[in-house]
Amino acid sequence: MRFVIHRLALFVAALFGVSVVVFAALRILPGDVASVMAGLNSPASRVEALREQLGLNRPLIIQYVDWAGGLLRGDFGTSILTGRSVTSLVAGRAAITFPLIVLGLLIACLIGIPLGVAATLARSSAARAAFHIVGLIGGAIPALWGGLLLILLFSRGTGLIGLFPSQGFPMDGWGAPGEALWSLVLPALSVGIIVGASLMRYTRSSLGDIAASGHIDMAMACGMMRRQAVIRVGLRLATPQLVSVIGLTFAEMITGVMVIENLFALPGIGSGLVTDVGNRDLIAVQSELFMLASFFLAVGLIVDLLHRALDPRLASADIVAEVVA
């Protein structure tokens, strides 16, 4: 319990820190949303008028309190340039990025975990080397190149086997669920293969660690076959570690899948953020970064808590530590 409270307090403190850093960093960055709005053929007076109108000339403290006060009320503000609420902007983008990540991770798990187990089970050195090479190659493929390859192979119009659309998200979004899901298949595959390869290596090495600590030998001594021992005992013991890895990968992928989103012309969170930073759309960038950071922190928090739930040894270690202290 103490751990949970401690962890929550840390979470809140970090959120506050993030809001200050994000706000300050954007003011230090050169560039100005007013001059972006005014463009190349406006006199300086127009930029000044826009700054005044947008409230950019107010003292920084007031601007911060304004924004942070909104955050406390759950109001992420309105994007200066697009005139839409940041929440709706992010929601629209998240409706692409999150399903893409979930699908990608699903593929990654389907590829990575069985391959990792198979690599651990492999007996001949040739097979083990083969798995090793698969892991290395899979992890070394640049996302962009892998995506292009998939387009060349499977996209409608350009691919050898025209199965999937390779460009864009349907105009109706999830209003056309089949079409929307279909348009995410290739991007999710290109993400899934790469993440799958690293998941495979994680699976293998954590199974290796578990085997090295004797759990598998013990299980086999109790009469299990090696395969059974690895899958039933080894995987169960590796689960907390894998959950941590998958959770953190999920958070990392929110902006990490940007390359893939660009390649497949999907207007997701990453590319949206880059555009907004480029335009110096202050309120939008501030709130988006804040949301991202809180999401990262929240995922970290959940992973930590889950980790403890899945691995009771950690809690008891805590108690021991408390007793010692």
Binding site: L29, G31, D32, V33, S35, V36, M37, A38, G39, L40, N41, S42, P43, A44, S45, R46, V47, A49, L81, T82, G83, R84, L89, G92, A122, R123, R128, L148, S155, R156, G157, G162, L163, P165, S166, Q167, G168, M171, R204, S205, L207, G208, D209, A211, A212, D217, M220, G223, M225, R226, N262, L263, F264, A265, P267, S271, G272, T275, N279, R280
Partner: protein, 539 residues
């Protein structure tokens, strides 16, 4: 970690082999392989099945294709997306491109040769002294919301622009009054001083007509009198235009729905065209267009005339670039033919500030021909050589790619200039170069038309201050005949070019590609002016 696994795997394998041999037979293995084979066969079967089914469905329409089968939707791919729809306050040609002539209409418009043509006004009279313009409006005009478009709306729109200092308001600074006469259906604009650019200015944002009585969020909606309405706008992604059922004029939309997709990534754009997601791409780089040009049976590739000037500005008040010899040397050192050839060859050489579609154009490419010897001589006069190079920094926005900077660096290295290339975000460029004028060299695609005023304004970021040029420009603006205006502008442009405050790398001509069956897509000026009413697509 990997070593650990390997080492353990081996010891594990030995224990395990003996245990497992005792435990059970290995029959299971054969079943495992069987499943794998079944799975592979199933996947292959699905792929073959889908492939057999696909060609049929895609050939079917083209078989029927002999009759009238114009598609009711055309999807076009553009590059730069507008951030919002508020054309009165937000800069950027992406808005002009999508909204002017499609959703909003001006009091006058311009055609694909950059000439002024009637729009909301069917004709106009100009007084002899050039101070009064009377516009005779069309009858029975309506906005897309059903409101009537009257002379009141026209004068209100222009007066609002001036009063609220909306974008481009400074181009109407000489306007004394704008008055409407609803009875006569005319609008009269009186000027304090004559302005030979007035009509052309009114073809752009300054002349757009808005509905006085409509209340809407201009950032997300648009109510105009044009042939299309904005049905949906997804920021940074797409705009759906639907034919305006209340459209009053002669440019009635030929295609019911036009979807505009914004494809920032060039590869994504090419894939979108190849896969049929879009039927038109504008712009496309010439290199990427080459495969389409070869496939003439399915695609048409065309380069259009534009007013885009790639301006390599030299800060005329910069520490090193204030020296005219350095600026001239740079102009002699640049091999324009090489630059143009490396981009594909469609762009046109441009020796001065006025492109061929603008008034006052004259071929000035002979002023500073590529001449390395002359460039070196000027540099040594200024005190620099290859052994003792001059270090200059070129700052430009990342939207133009890195190739141009690299080419310029290698061309200028030959004459003893060590060019540092600093590629930044556009907003950073705006701050450092445009606003603070803190730069040596800068590169921008100035795509605006009629923008010679930049050279007559000593406060513009070029830092160029020549009173003779300013005088000539003022005369050209005050001229009451087009001929004398053109002559004065040409004279001023030549002076500017001679002073070498910049080098005009080339006049960018936008390449457009479309799939077979598309007709009526504008090729000239299509990054700023893209009337879509005529576009059709026959499958």
């Amino acid at each position: 970690m990997a070593d650990n696994t390997g080492a353990h795997g081996q010891t594990g394998a030995t224990t395990d082999a003996s245990l497992e041999n005792r435990a059970k037979s290995t029959k299971r293995n054969s079943r495992w392989w069987l499943w794998a084979i079944v799975a592979v066969i199933a996947v292959v079967a699905i792929i073959i099945g889908v492939n057999l089914a696909k060609p049929k469905s895609s050939t079917n329409p083209s078989v029927v294709g002999s009759g009238d089968n114009t598609a009711d939707t055309v999807t076009i791919g553009l590059k730069l997306a507008p951030t919002n729809l508020d054309i009165r306050t937000t800069a950027g040609s992406a808005l002009d491109q999508i909204l002017i002539g499609n959703v909003y209409e001006g009091i006058v418009a311009r055609d694909e040769h950059n000439q002024v043509v009637p729009a909301i006004a069917k004709s106009w009279d100009e007084s002899k002294d050039g101070l009064t313009y009377t516009f005779h409006l069309n009858e029975h005009m309506t906005f897309s919301n059903g409101d009537a478009l009257t002379a009141e709306d026209v004068s209100w729109s222009i007066n609002q622009l001036i009063k609220n200092q909306y974008h481009d308001a400074d181009s109407l600074s000489m306007v004394k009054s704008v008055t409407a006469d609803d009875g006569a259906n005319t609008v009269t604009i009186t000027l304090a001083t004559p302005n030979s650019n007035l009509l052309w200015t009114l073809t752009g944002r300054a002349g757009l007509v808005f509905d006085k009585d409509a209340k809407y969020d201009a950032k997300t909606e648009a109510i105009g009198s044009g042939p299309y309405t904005v049905a949906k706008f997804v920021v940074n992604d797409a705009i759906t235009l639907k034919a305006n059922p209340k459209y009053w004029g002669t440019h009635k939309a030929k295609t019911a729905t036009v979807v505009v997709k914004y494809l920032a990534d060039d590869n994504a754009a090419v894939n979108a065209l190849k896969s049929g997601t879009v039927q038109v791409l504008a712009p496309i780089t010439e290199t990427l267009a080459a495969p389409f040009a070869k496939d003439a049976a399915h695609y048409t590739v065309k380069a259009g005339d534009d007013t885009d000037k790639y301006v390599l500005a030299f800060n005329s008040k910069g520490k090193n670039t204030a020296d005219k010899r350095v600026r001239q040397a740079i102009r002699y050192a640049i091999d324009h033919e090489e630059l143009i050839a490396s981009r594909g060859g469609s762009d046109k050489a441009l020796g001065g500030p006025i492109p061929s579609l603008d008034p006052g154009y004259e071929d000035l490419t002979g002023l500073y021909p590529h001449d390395e010897a002359k460039a070196k001589a000027l540099m040594s006069e200024a005190g620099y050589s290859e052994a003792k190079p001059l270090t200059l920094t070129l700052t430009y926005a990342n939207i133009y790619g890195t190739e141009l900077g690299d080419q310029l660096r290698s061309q200028l290295a030959k004459i003893g200039i060590d060019l540092k290339v600093n590629v930044v975000e556009f907003s950073t460029w705006l701050q450092d170069v445009y606003t603070n004028k803190d730069y040596d060299l800068s590169l921008v695609d100035h795509n605006e038309s009629h923008d010679f005023y930049q050279w007559a304004d000593s406060t513009y970021y070029y830092n160029y201050d020549n009173t003779e040029v300013q005088r000539l420009y003022a005369q050209a603006i005050a001229a009451t005949s087009d001929d004398s205006r053109d002559e004065l502008l040409a004279k001023a442009a030549k002076l500017v070019s001679e002073d070498a405050p910049a080098d005009w790398l080339f006049n960018y001509r936008v390449t457009t590609v479309w799939a077979k069956g598309v007709a009526g897509f504008p090729v000239n000026l299509n990054q700023t002016l893209l009337p879509l009413y005529d576009v059709t697509y026959a499958k």
